[in-house]
């Protein structure tokens, strides 16, 4: 299960471009997901640490952001250090993030009054440099605001995770607008893993990588975070050929 290997000339060119883009900044570290097909799609083999990543829920979750919050909690759980979580509506239920591996002692919540205050706290947290990750729940994220966050994250080497969450489902079309984030994800619920008895199994998500700087788009069907924040490939898919590798969807990053 491997992504198609790009020709060597292409790889060399990419390295050149990266050098120009980095402009003397420290080389980026990455945080792998630990799921081979997912990591193969990301440049460097994982989620860049000093960068901004956006996550939104699909369908009903664009308003509630329940799956997006868990996806982000799973990523934040695998970083080191404390996590600053900026919210407008205090409806995040801490036991669920703890089940996704993010220990309650590690999370500092900030209840900012509005989107603007969330962005200010978000940036302040990124610039502080001492945190493992900074999470912000925002609706509108303009190019300027996201550029500021991306630069702050690059400068400090701290991962910024923006959960895009709108007041109404009609506003979710805003997710099509471009931002300066390094990757953009959409997480939607799928029917859970079937159990041999009555009951609800482990939740499954359709995780779409909608945009990835220096990478391709892809989508995956994954099982939700376990108690260490790791995603898993569903058992019946793990032994099958990678549907994303068949090259059905390719787009410029």
């Amino acid at each position: 299960m491997h992504a198609p290997r790009p020709p060597p000339a292409f790889t060399a060119l990419r390295g050149e471009i990266e050098k120009i883009q980095a402009r003397g900044r420290v080389r980026r570290d990455v945080l792998p997901f630990g799921v081979a097909c997912l990591d193969a799609r990301l440049p460097g083999g994982g989620l860049a640490i000093g960068a901004l990543h956006e996550v939104a829920g699909g369908g009903r979750d664009a308003v509630d952001g329940a799956a997006a919050a868990l996806f982000v909690a799973g990523i934040a759980a695998r970083t080191c250090g404390q996590v600053l979580w900026c919210v407008v509506r205090p409806d995040l239920f801490a036991p669920a993030t703890a089940h996704a591996g993010l220990a309650p002692d590690r999370v500092i919540y900030v209840e900012a009054g509005d989107d603007k205050a969330v962005l200010a706290c978000f940036e302040e947290g990124l610039r502080h440099k001492g945190l493992g990750a900074v999470v912000g729940e925002v609706g509108r994220l303009s190019m300027t605001a996201s550029r500021r966050l991306q630069l702050a994250a690059e400068g400090a080497g701290v991962m910024g995770l923006a959960i895009r969450r709108w007041r109404r489902s009609t506003e979710a079309a805003d997710f099509g607008q471009p931002t300066a984030a390094t990757t953009r994800w959409r997480v939607s619920a799928l029917p859970s893993t079937p159990l041999p008895t009555a009951g609800v199994g482990r939740a499954r998500w359709r995780v779409e990588l909608l945009r990835c700087k220096a990478g391709d788009c892809a989508d995956f069907e994954l099982e939700c975070c376990d108690e260490t924040g790791r995603l898993d490939l569903p058992a019946e898919l793990a032994d099958r050929s990678d549907p994303a590798a068949s090259g059905s969807r390719r787009a410029a990053g």
Binding site: Q82, A94, E111, G130
Partner: protein, 475 residues
């Protein structure tokens, strides 16, 4: 009940609640009060002691609420909370906190917040609401409806005015000013102006005894923000030098600006732990500089550490053994001073199975508890602020529903899990003695998962009416 002298008469100055119920109000002659109620307990008023107690109360308010506090004798305090209320999460929250804390030590307090000292004085004493916040531009209007006694005039003058038919402050305000001043003296118009905020009223500030402070007087008034920031840095450097010799760190810093027009502007910052870091304290103060109105210029800047605590050196972690633990208290202070202390918190498990009570907020810099929630029970990632009623179709009353309608959308249930039974906590509220909630995890045809509960166990009616509620959303 205390009595004291007003001129030659002995009159009642203060009375407790039972005495007030008998109609003995302050101002009644002592002889008359004794005649009305036989077994009255009278004490001589000790005005000096009262003044001292008020001074102590003012110092408490200075430490806790605002850098600008003055006693307003005989029975009040005046606080300028511009630039200080944000730490309590707003003006109303500050008043509530103050009244609660005073009530805890047995003092019944009334508080009002308005645009001027005069208006706040009147509203605190004569408005019906014991806790009132009036916007600056409406405070004159609100005070206008109050009786003339609220104006801080002598009792004789109030009597005269009332005899002439003036009842409220608004009545006086509507009269032509010149005849009013001529007939009753300049004092009356001055008090009126003070209520309506037309003249400044210098307040006689209390100072903490033996303060740790540095001051800087300028030959020429300064006003440019950059200049103020530069001198702030100098003051912080001076203060940190003093703190270092004493082995202390600042918990609360007040920076006061004495303006050329005799007004005082102030900012106050707080830190979660004692701090003596020049860059960090300067940053916190400069964040707030934009709230200061320098007017025509600032003559003197005074920086006071109104709360300082011992600060010990900690050995730095050795790189050889472990990476140093990052210190987030600087970030916590910055955000807390910007948004208010209560907006920052950590969550910790509460001693309860009821979802709403199973999380508790603690201070962000509190030591790690190491506790977490049991991973055995599924919990949704979003919990609704309050459970929302849903309409359900179930085959049997004690089975999970086969479909439900929430927020106007009908959803068919494909899989369900439950129940997880949670009992009411009778030791908290009597009403919860029999209450039962049965929680179910439902998954609809699209794969979205919900956390719903049914009130009651379906056997005994006392446990609940079998109505269904949506309480959370799984990710």
């Amino acid at each position: 009940m205390t009595i004291g002298r007003d001129g030659r008469k002995r009159v009642v100055l203060a009375a407790n609640a039972p005495a007030l119920g008998l109609g003995l109000r302050p101002g009644v002659p002592a002889a008359k009060a004794r005649a009305l109620v036989a077994d009255l307990i009278l004490h001589d008023a000790d005005l000096q002691d009262d003044a001292l107690a008020l001074e102590r109360l003012a110092l408490w308010a200075l430490r806790r609420y605002s850098p600008l506090v003055a006693p307003d004798p005989p029975d009040g305090l005046i606080l300028d909370v511009t630039g200080a209320a944000h730490r309590f999460g707003g003006e109303d929250a500050l008043l509530a906190d103050m009244i609660d804390r005073l009530a805890a030590v047995g003092v019944t307090a009334r508080a009002a917040m308005a645009g001027s000292w005069g208006a706040a004085h009147a509203l605190a004493r004569f408005a019906a609401d014991p806790r009132l916040v009036v916007a600056s531009d409406r405070s004159g209007l609100a005070a206008g409806a109050l009786p003339i006694r609220a104006l801080r005039l002598s009792a004789d003058l109030v009597d005269t005015l009332e005899r002439l038919g003036f009842e409220t402050i608004g009545d006086l305000e509507r009269q032509p000013r010149a005849p009013l001043a001529l007939r009753f003296g300049i004092d009356l118009t001055r008090r009126l102006d003070q209520v309506y905020g037309r003249v400044n009223e210098p307040i006689d500030l209390v100072e903490a005894p033996d303060p740790i402070q540095v001051r800087r007087a300028f030959a020429e008034p300064v006003g440019a923000p950059e200049t103020l920031a530069r001198y702030t840095l100098q003051l912080v450097e001076g203060l940190c030098a003093i703190l270092e010799t004493k082995g202390l760190g600042a918990r609360t810093l007040d920076l006061r600006f004495l303006r050329v027009d005799n007004r005082v502007e102030a900012i106050r910052i707080g830190t979660a732990q004692p701090v003596r870091d020049i860059a960090r304290l300067t940053r916190l103060l400069c964040d707030k500089l934009e709230t200061v109105d320098p007017g025509f210029g600032v003559e003197v800047m005074v920086l006071t550490a109104s709360l300082a605590e011992p600060l010990d050196w900690k050995p730095g972690a050795s790189d050889l053994i472990a990476a140093p633990e990052a210190d987030v208290s600087a970030l916590v202070d910055t955000l807390a001073n910007r948004l208010g202390e209560r907006r920052l918190y950590r969550m910790t498990p509460g001693e309860s199975d009821v979802p709403e009570r199973s999380v508790q907020r603690i201070a962000p810099t509190a030591p790690a508890t190491g506790a977490s929630w049991s991973p055995a029970w599924p919990r949704p990632s979003r919990l609704l602020a309050r459970p929302e009623p849903i309409e359900t179709v179930a085959l049997l009353p004690d089975q999970p529903p086969v479909s439900f309608t929430w927020r106007g959308t009908r959803r068919r249930v494909r899989r369900a899990d439950g129940p997880e039974r949670i009992f009411g906590e009778w030791w908290r509220r009597d009403g919860e003695l029999d209450a039962v909630r049965d929680y179910f995890q439902l998954e609809d045809t699209a794969g979205e998962r919900y956390w719903v509960f049914r009130r009651g166990d379906g056997e005994r009616a006392a446990t609940g009416d079998l109505s269904w509620f949506m309480h959370g959303l799984f990710g």
